[in-house]
Amino acid sequence: MRFERSHTRKAVALAVVSSLVLLTAACGGGDDGGSGNNGSGGALEGRGPIKFATGKDTSGNLKNQVDAWNTQHPDEKVEVAELPESADQQRNQMISNAQIKSTEFSVLNLDVVWTAEFAANRWITELPQDQFPDLGKLLPTTVDTAKYRDKLYAVPVTSDGGLLYYRKDLLDKAGVEVPKTWPEMVAACAKVKALPEGKAINCYAGQFEKYEGLTVNFSEAVNGAGGVVVGDDGKPNVDTPEALAGLTALVEGFKTGFIPKAAITYQEEPGRRAFQDGNLLFHRNWPYVYALANKTDGSSKIAGKFAVAALPGLSGPGVSTLGGHNYAISEFATNKATAADFIKFMSSEERQKANVEKTSQAPTWASLYDDPALNKQFPYLAPLKASIASAKSRPKVVKYGDVTTAIQEAAYGALKQPAEKDPKQTLTDLQTKLSSLITQ
């Protein structure tokens, strides 16, 4: 880690020099745009009312959080600008505001995968790390998502990691252990299917529709088999035997019926529905499912009959893909000092705790996962902490949209029946495609 950092610092120094050269060379071509690019992140100045752009407040708790801030800071009130539910729409609204350099939004609630793009386009302000001393108390993987080229651009406020939901009642009945690997899971399902009550059940499903969730599931399969999609050096390295083993497991799953055919259309919600209706033995999904599947109002047929575990890998523990949201300050905001204080406030232990209690969103504050009261309320916190702590980020690249589209395209082509390409060819082609996308 330390080695890496000093290494990067040298690279950055070099880069600054070379970019200066480039800048002088390119100066003829119009304005040089945001000049706040002096490394250390410009001073965060200006106080007053600000606007916080976020996806719809899902729990109603955001209002409490913001109210708490507003009563303490009557001169620096925060107004919430609610964006549409779809992530695409949220991102588009934020980008179009940045395009016209609008001062409208001050604090942006960014999906972790957008951080690189927003940072590289200078749509968000670099944050001086010394002003955010609490970062060390957050789960390191989550802090990593807020950085771009080793500089801090945001503060992680919520996180997310994949969990394996399983039917505890059926596993107990069949007398099998909770599987820790993919082959164990296959064997466990075979045993459950031998039971009279397990005859009709489907074994496993994740999210395999062609959308962001497929990138998540594909990456988990590859990472769980010891491979990578994009390596730590930032270079794609997906044409490997490990990655092939991971993808092949999924492909075989579809071929043998271990994964039901309909799963190729599953996003989070259809999968959750299948699990809640008792049609799935194992299900990969996010923590939000826990409370919903445990509802006793009749919506879930499996309330009290399931439990969660860490994701299984191919031959060892699995690796989750990291989700979550980071708060960043718009480059064009006027009251940046207020914005920074608001972000500190929202990411504080006290506020995060209040948020977990109300919303079941995964916190980024490490110690909250060990809080006994919370653990009692949310029994999945322990496996979730493990999942997040060992989770892998999706590629931190400026053109993330192109990269994820390429991954989805490849994975979908291999998984759908009949498949477009065999797994080996899929990965070779994906490697070529990613290399052309990421080198630029």
């Binding site: 606007k51 899902t58 959750r272 939000y288 919903l292 919506s299 919303t359 969103q361």
Partner: protein, 291 residues
């Protein structure tokens, strides 16, 4: 009104003398069309009337009826009532402006002889050929320069321009069908051209005018892309934008029931408007004994 129903009735009389299939075929046709139109809507209403816990039930009739989804939609704090009002303000203004501006333009195109008429018609229709999604960013830039972001006019003016081409073309077609002798007769009686237009042509063209009104209103009521891009303040957002921002309690779960309930709530004013206006469409005929 009575006059209006005369002609179709006569056709019915003939149908009664015809063999049985002539009598029944239209009825079967009507039934089929109504079913085709209403079945998906029925599914929407039924989904809205299920308890949230039975949301994913596929039974044709809900096992337990519930208004919970509707009460969810109107919970204080969602601002849905306000959003409905905003939709009404925007769509209402757009409709009135479109009709006024569009009728004047259409009448001009239908009656006055001047050069470049076809060019004007062509320019007008050309503006509805550009993909809407590509208009958003330039428009946003324009509106932000003139500080229109978060105003009603930022939604009204684009909707107006989306509605005008169809309104002008449609009304032009209608006005052209009116015989010119009508205005001339009116003017012989001492009307000015403007009066002739208002008192003779508009009433006669009422089916076209009200149809245009309905279509404009519905299109403006349903407009989403501009409304979501130009406005980020909840108190002037339209109902459509609000529906798109509905989520469940965790952000990932989709509150399908309340979305459908909101959809029903948003649709019903339109159905009522259609019921009111459709009388006027027919009423246009009462003055129709002209030719």
């Amino acid at each position: 009104m009575a006059d209006a129903e005369k002609a179709p009735k006569k056709i019915d009389v003939r149908a009664a003398e015809a063999p049985w299939y002539r009598r029944w075929l239209p009825l079967i046709g009507i039934g089929a069309i109504v079913i085709f139109c209403l079945v998906p809507f029925y599914w929407m209403v039924v989904s809205a009337l299920r308890r949230p816990s039975d949301q994913f039930d596929n039974s044709i009739i809900p096992k337990r009826w519930s208004l919970e989804n509707f009460t969810d939609v109107f919970q204080p704090g969602t601002g849905f009532g306000r959003a409905l009002l905003n939709s009404l303000i925007v769509a209402g203004t757009v409709t009135i402006l479109t009709l006024i501006v569009g009728m004047v333009a259409a009448y001009t195109l239908a009656r006055l002889d001047f050069k470049f008429k076809n060019l004007v018609l062509a320019i007008i229709i050309t503006t509805s050929m550009f993909p809407g999604i590509s208009l958003v960013i330039p428009l946003k830039k324009l509106f932000s320069d003139i500080e229109w972001i978060n105003t009603y006019q930022a939604m009204i003016v684009p909707s107006l321009s989306f509605a005008l081409p169809l309104a002008v073309w449609n009304l032009t077609a209608f006005f052209r069908q009116m015989p010119r002798e009508l205005e001339q007769a009116a003017m012989v009686d001492g009307c000015t051209p403007a009066q002739a237009f208002r008192k003779v042509i508009i009433p006669l063209a009422a089916p076209g005018v009200f149809t245009t009104a309905i279509i404009t209103f519905i299109a403006a009521w349903n407009e989403f892309l501009i409304a979501v891009s130009m406005v980020n303040r909840k108190d002037i957002s339209t109902a459509n934008v609000l529906i798109a921002s509905f989520t469940g309690t965790s952000g990932r779960d989709q509150p399908f029931g309340s979305q459908m309930a909101a959809g029903v709530v948003v649709t019903i004013p339109l159905v009522i408007a259609v019921l009111i206006f459709q009388r006027r469409i027919v009423a246009g005929l009462t003055a129709g004994g002209v030719k």
